[in-house]
Structure formats: C-alpha cells, structure tokens
C-alpha cells in the first residue's frame, strides 16, 4: 500500500515536501485504520510527527487531510482510500511539524463563545433541573469532539481565521443557546452579531461534509440566525 505524506520540519527544511512510503501487503490487516498505518510508517521513519491518542474517534487529536478531505485517521479505513494515500496536515493552520498543526487560533475562538453555562439566578440548592424534552434539544450539539475538521475545511475560516469564529465554535455557541438552563441568550447573540464572528458563514457546508461525528454546524448557525430574528421582533 502506497502513501504520500506531507513532511516539514521548520528547523531543517526550507519548504514542505511530500515523502513516499510503502507498507507491505502482509502489514495491512482487514479493517485497518489510517492511524494504525501511520504508526507502522512511523516505525520505518521515527522522525514522522503526528498527533493521536484514543484511537476511537473520541479525543479528536488526529484530524488530518486525507486524499484532499479532512477526517480522523482513527476512523478512516485504509481500504476505503485511493492509492497513493495522500496525507497532509489540516489546511489553513500553521504547521508545527509534519502533520502537527498549531490549534491555538481554533481554541481561542472556542473560548470566545464562552462554552459553559451562564446562570444569573442564585444557585439552586440541589441541582439545575432540565426536562427530558429540553435535554433532547442538545442532541447533535454536545457530541462535538473539537477535532477541528470542520473549521479547517471552511473557506470562510481560511480567509478570516482571526475574526470568523468557525463552524466548531459556532456549533458550541448554539449548544449553550439551546440549553434551557442557560440564561445568557441576549449576551451570546449580541456577541455574534457584526460582519465577522458568525456572518462570514456563507452556508458552503464543507463543515457538514467532513464532520467525523456527522454533526451539522450549518444547521446550528441557521438556528442562531433564527434566534437573532426572534430576538429582533
């Protein structure tokens, strides 16, 4: 099985290049995921750098660009991919080394939407109650693992990475706007108004296309817009 992997070490390389690797057929097990293949390649060349952790699509560490589309190495079966399998870092982010990118900007936007419950009432004696129906409204929102596949495949995020929140952060913003226990709807909506933070989204829907958890940030963004219209009238 043939691989072409993006290599770049800013300390020694003048510019990035693609390096060819090959794994013998007996090294490929049925149902083998790309992450396992990368680990085998790493045993051939220890200098190859990439992030990974749980290997089950839960930690969100191993977002990479696979044959032109973002995805998680641990959830992508190598047998489903056209050869040579081209592996690159997720686009639009500064490369630290090889497949490892600097996610600071991404997490800055995540923090920017205040991804926690804001309650102005005095704290209840026991716990914050929520009806099962209200809890259901969080389905499709809370499952995000913050891998960044969506935001780094979004052209609006590429053009304005410092100002546009990006699909991942906006999905998280709606996760708290939709929460019956949250009391900061006004502040959250006000914060997202203006030309950049949310309204750079042009419903290109690359985010929906690549989300490894099959979530729909575009729908969440539309729901935020609906809340804004409701808030206006």
């Amino acid at each position: 099985m043939k691989f072409l992997i993006y290599r770049y070490d800013p300390e020694s390389d003048k510019k990035p290049f693609m390096q060819a690797f090959e794994l013998a057929d007996d090294e490929i097990q049925p149902g083998m995921m790309l992450r396992d293949a990368l680990l085998k390649i790493k045993s051939q060349d220890e200098t190859l750098a990439f992030r990974h952790s749980c290997g089950e699509g839960v930690c969100g560490s191993d977002a990479i660009n696979i044959n032109g589309a973002n995805g998680l190495g641990c959830l992508t079966a190598v047998s489903s991919l056209k050869q040579p399998i081209e592996v690159r870092p997720v686009p639009g982010m500064p490369v630290i080394r090889d497949l490892v990118v600097d996610m600071s900007q991404f997490f800055k936007h995540y923090r920017g939407v205040k991804p926690w419950l804001i309650v102005h009432d005095s704290e209840p004696e026991v716990e914050y109650l929520q009806s099962p129906e209200d809890r259901d409204k969080l389905d499709g929102l809370y499952e995000c693992i913050l891998c960044g596949c969506c935001s780094t495949s979004c052209p609006s995020f590429w053009w304005n990475p410092d100002k546009f929140r990006g699909p991942a952060a906006l999905l998280q913003s709606y996760r708290f706007l939709a929460d019956s226990r949250d009391q900061a709807t006004e502040e959250r909506l006000e914060d997202l108004d203006g030309p950049y933070r949310m309204f750079r989204c042009h419903t290109i829907m690359n985010c929906v296309n690549v989300c490894p958890k099959s979530l729909n940030p575009t729908a969440a963004i539309n729901n935020i817009k609906k809340l804004m219209v409701k808030d206006m009238v």
Binding site: S156, W159, N160, K225
Partner: protein, 113 residues
Amino acid sequence: MSIHAQGMRAWLLQRLSGAYIGLYLVVALLVIGFGPTLDYTRWHALLSQPAISIATMVFFYSILIHAWVGIRDVLVDYVQLSALRFSILMGLALGLISMGIWVSMILFSVVSL
C-alpha cells in the same frame, strides 16, 4: 440603507430583498405570459399605474440592496487591504446609488398620478 448595515441586519436585508425579487419575478412572468402582447403602449399603460410603478421601484431597489450586501460579502472575504476594500466599496456604492436614481427617474417619468 446605511452602508454600515452589517451582521444580522445585512443578512436579513439580503433575505428579504431576495424574497421580494423572487415574488416580483413570478408575478411579472405571469403578467407577461398570460396578458396580451407586450408592446410599448402596454408597457406604458402598465407602468403608469402607481401601484405597479411602486412595486417595480421596490423591485429595482431590492436588486441594488441585494447586490450591495452580496458584493460587500465577497469583498470582505477576498480584499483584505482596508484602503483598497474601502475604495472599491465607495465605487460600488456610487454605482448602485446612481442606478437607483436613474431607474427612479425613468419610472417617475412614466407614472401618472
């Protein structure tokens, strides 16, 4: 509309103007398709009615607003240099406003009050 309309307001204006453009076009196509042949006298008769004249004016203004928001969106994405973006936006605003004045003058010259 203010050239500073941004975020929610711009988005809403674009949706509303788009909806009006669509509605007007459907009605206009029905009138053209099912009415008698459109010659100069019929155009003149149609547009001299104040209601139709106003609806047509709103249609052209909607196109101008829709174009303003849409082109500004593209410029905000692709033209990162503020001075250049500002100059293009000013040129665009000037062009759109003159078109608005021009279309108003034409419609006013036909309408009979």
